[in-house]
């Protein structure tokens, strides 16, 4: 780890600067989202898209992720659990909906760097407006394994993708 990753800058997606149409991570859904929907989702406050760029080439998107706030509704909690988490019947969470690294930059730790910065933003967000969980959507088994390595656990036990995984934000805070 070091200077190369640290020198990368995280910025809000700006269609006037960032060349969205050139981004290719190898997954058409994630390419198309950045090109066609990310700007609009940002505008209508549905999700905030962040891009990782090299300051020497600020127009080139090295990777991106999106953040939004979601509610996770728990049901039928035992009386015991309710005693401990009375307010958790609807748990506020930060969702990392999409996270992708351009194909030409893959294998250099950029995915981890994006996740590190995304989790940092999730913690920041939770300090401003409470959130207890961070949720990620994994498109496939490789992505689920990537998140699993850091301690994300699947919400559902089936093998269907996209798969949602979660982690308590307190765990992220402890890791810092």
């Amino acid at each position: 780890m070091g200077t190369e990753l640290d020198s990368l800058q995280l910025a809000l997606l700006d269609g006037r600067i960032h060349r969205r149409e050139a981004f290719d991570c190898g997954e058409p859904t994630l390419n198309r989202y950045l090109k066609e929907h990310a700007g609009q989702d940002h505008k209508r406050n549905a999700a905030t898209p962040y891009v990782l760029v090299d300051p020497d080439r600020p127009e080139e998107v090295v990777g991106y992720f999106t953040l939004s706030m979601i509610g996770v509704a728990l049901e039928d909690l035992s009386a015991d659990a309710k005693k401990y988490v009375p307010k958790y019947s609807n748990v506020p969470a930060v969702l990392i909906g999409r996270l992708a690294v351009a194909a030409e930059h893959q294998g250099r730790g950029y995915g981890g760097e994006l996740l590190r910065r995304a989790l940092g933003r999730c913690l920041d967000a939770s300090r401003v407006a409470a959130a207890a969980l961070v949720i990620v959507d994994a498109l496939n088994a490789d992505a689920a394994a990537f998140y699993g390595k850091y301690g994300f656990e699947p919400i559902t036990s089936d093998d269907a993708y996209p798969k949602r995984l979660y982690m308590p934000l307190r765990l992220v805070a402890k890791a810092q």
Partner: protein, 101 residues
């Protein structure tokens, strides 16, 4: 993030869907598939799979069933300790910046 992805069209095909559709729609799909150099089923699978992903990713509200709720609540009550990978991830950047100072 790991790149690729077993494309649905390349994976082992052990599922089956029978669809009835208007002949005109079918013709349009067939010409689009030809234009992309794909056979019709692979084209339909790829397009439907993309649409399914887009529908499922980023959903804004989640309802968990009782079992899922129990597991998530347990982990909220006691999140345990972060594993080594998470600690390295979250602390690596800070260490590197400190060194650079």
């Amino acid at each position: 993030m790991p790149s690729v992805i077993e494309k649905p069209a390349q994976a082992k095909k052990d599922g089956r869907v029978d669809i009835r559709l208007p002949i005109e729609t079918k013709k349009v799909i067939q010409s689009a598939a030809r234009a992309k150099g794909m056979n019709t089923s692979d084209f339909i699978i790829a397009a439907a799979y993309d649409a399914a992903q887009e529908t499922l990713v980023g959903r804004e509200i989640m309802r968990l069933d009782a079992e899922q709720s129990r597991r998530v609540a347990a982990r909220l009550i006691d999140p345990g300790e972060p594993n080594e990978a998470l600690k390295r991830l979250m602390r690596g950047g800070a260490r590197a910046r400190k060194r650079a100072r």
